[in-house]
């Protein structure tokens, strides 16, 4: 169910074996199309971890092509009906490009930095951030336990969970909510 994509290798394999930088829109589009092919072949639901650790530079245009358009397609379910995406191995400058892209699309993605810390990149209100943190800490949790964990009215937690599900930042499994990191 979890699939890892080393985007540095993918770049060298699909575009040019001399490149280590994710720059320009045509490069980003070529890489995204390869990722989409992989996603389409996965069983549902699927979690795809995109690893940036072997990527040098990531510019805004390429971040838009690779991550922005990919996640926009996942959210609108034009790529696959039940796909989730995490990114890892991102440096500060990668995060800056990703954040700019996420703001444009009003999307968010969970990212693990090269320091090993997880963070949410993109616009997310405080309520959703608190609930997402709690789901991450628990790994798998039902709503009533989550209400206690964040000490917030049930209706507010439910609204936050709906927002997180719509943004595909948590998974639903029967009556439980599952953090993406826990199924990596």
């Amino acid at each position: 169910m979890t699939h890892h994509i080393d985007i540095g290798s993918l770049l060298r394999r699909t575009v040019c074996d001399l490149y280590s930088n994710l720059v320009t829109r045509p490069t980003g589009a070529a890489v995204r199309k390869e990722i989409e092919v992989v996603l389409k072949g996965l069983d549902e639901p699927s979690l795809t971890v995109i690893d940036f650790s072997q990527v040098g530079l990531l510019d805004y245009s390429c971040a838009d092509e690779v991550v922005g358009k990919l996640l926009d397609g996942v959210r609108r379910q034009v790529i696959l009906t039940d796909a989730y995406v995490l990114v890892r191995g991102v440096r500060d400058d990668h995060l800056e490009a990703l954040d700019a892209v996420m703001q444009r699309y009003d999307l968010a993605v969970i990212a693990e930095g090269d320091d090993g810390a997880w963070r949410v990149v993109g616009p997310l209100d405080d309520g959703m951030r608190r609930v997402l943190d709690a789901v991450h800490r628990c790994g798998r949790v039902i709503k009533s336990d989550l209400v206690k964990a964040v000490d917030t009215p049930s209706c507010d937690v439910e609204a936050s969970l709906d927002g997180l599900l719509a943004r595909r930042l948590v998974m639903r499994d029967d009556d439980a909510y599952v953090s993406l990191q826990s199924v990596m």
């Binding site: 490149y19 930088n21 720059v23 829109r25 530079l57 805004y60 838009d64 092509e65 358009k69 700019a100």
Partner: protein, 296 residues
């Protein structure tokens, strides 16, 4: 009849306006001779804009380079003559473009940008030298190196995506005595293509507003992040460039058509939006990032 265009002794983004003014008075199919014999110094903007000027002419222009040997030699090492000899009909002494060592202040010699692959080449080349110069000589934060390369990538992509023809990029450091009194790294990116106004006018369904000219187009692109493409992810490149320039107290100036828009830092007194300039096609961009002075 050939019209002589006199290049000023010191050539930068401000003095190049004298060149634009002379050229604007001569139709593109008329022969011109660009006379730089008495020019002693040029910024990267001046060199890339000279190449762009040659490209903009329907009738091949003639070019006479600096008579001062050190100036001509420097221009050769910056890569100017290699490209100029393909664009201009060269007059006078042309320095040999041999395998001379690159100047220590040249981060990127004049490089043609016409395709996406060229942007990859530019980024690969700059990364190897940027760290040493930006961090150790200009005292910028190590994090600035990657952002600098991102900025360079985005401004070069503007040529590929919007100009409709190739352009030129160069990156150098120099002592910016006139305004700063310290060193600065300068990116110059020039093309003679569509320009911002015509690029935005090519948006499907575009209709002119009450006020629509080169200045309005520059404001749309730089201030409002408008792009001719409708994708939500478009327009981020220049926004990212603005953020980088703002963070490092830099200056960003974009000239297109008859207008120039400038993000003005505290150390400069440029006019934020200048209109009514002599017309020149395409876009000419200059980014200046000053040396960081450690707190006393």
């Amino acid at each position: 009849m050939t019209t002589v265009i006199t290049v000023p002794p010191s050539l930068d983004d401000e003095t190049f306006e004298q060149v634009f003014e002379q050229v604007a008075a001569v139709s593109a199919d008329q022969k011109i001779l660009v006379d730089a014999r008495h020019t002693r110094w040029s910024s990267p903007y001046g060199l890339t804009a000279l190449l762009t000027l040659g490209q903009s002419r329907a009738e091949q222009a003639a070019f006479a380079g600096p008579e001062a040997e050190d100036t001509a030699s420097y221009w050769a090492r910056a890569g100017f003559y290699r490209h100029a000899s393909e664009i201009y009909e060269m007059h006078g002494k042309v320095p040999r473009t041999r395998e001379a060592p690159t100047e220590s202040n040249v981060l990127l010699e004049i490089t043609e940008v016409a395709r996406s692959d060229d942007v990859h080449t530019v980024v690969e080349r700059i990364q190897s030298r940027a760290q040493a110069i930006l961090v150790h000589e200009l005292h910028l934060d190590p994090q600035a190196t990657m952002r600098f390369a991102m900025t360079l990538s985005e401004v070069c992509q503007n040529i590929v995506e919007h100009a409709g023809q190739g352009g030129w990029v160069a990156v150098q450091t120099y002592q910016y005595r006139k305004r700063l009194g310290r060193r600065a790294v300068v990116i110059a990116v020039c093309d003679a293509g569509l320009g911002f106004r015509r690029s935005l006018e090519s948006t499907p369904g575009w209709k002119p507003r009450d006020r629509w000219d080169d200045a309005a187009a520059l404001e749309d692109a730089l201030v409002r992040g408008v792009s001719r493409y409708r994708d939500p992810g478009r327009g981020q490149g220049l926004a990212g460039v603005r953020r980088f320039v703002g963070k490092w107290e830099g200056k960003l100036a974009i000239r297109s058509g008859t207008a120039r828009i400038t993000i003005v830092p505290e150390w400069d007194d440029a006019v934020p939006l200048k209109e009514g300039l002599p017309h020149f096609p395409g876009a000419q961009v200059q980014i200046t990032i000053p040396e960081r002075v450690p707190p006393a």
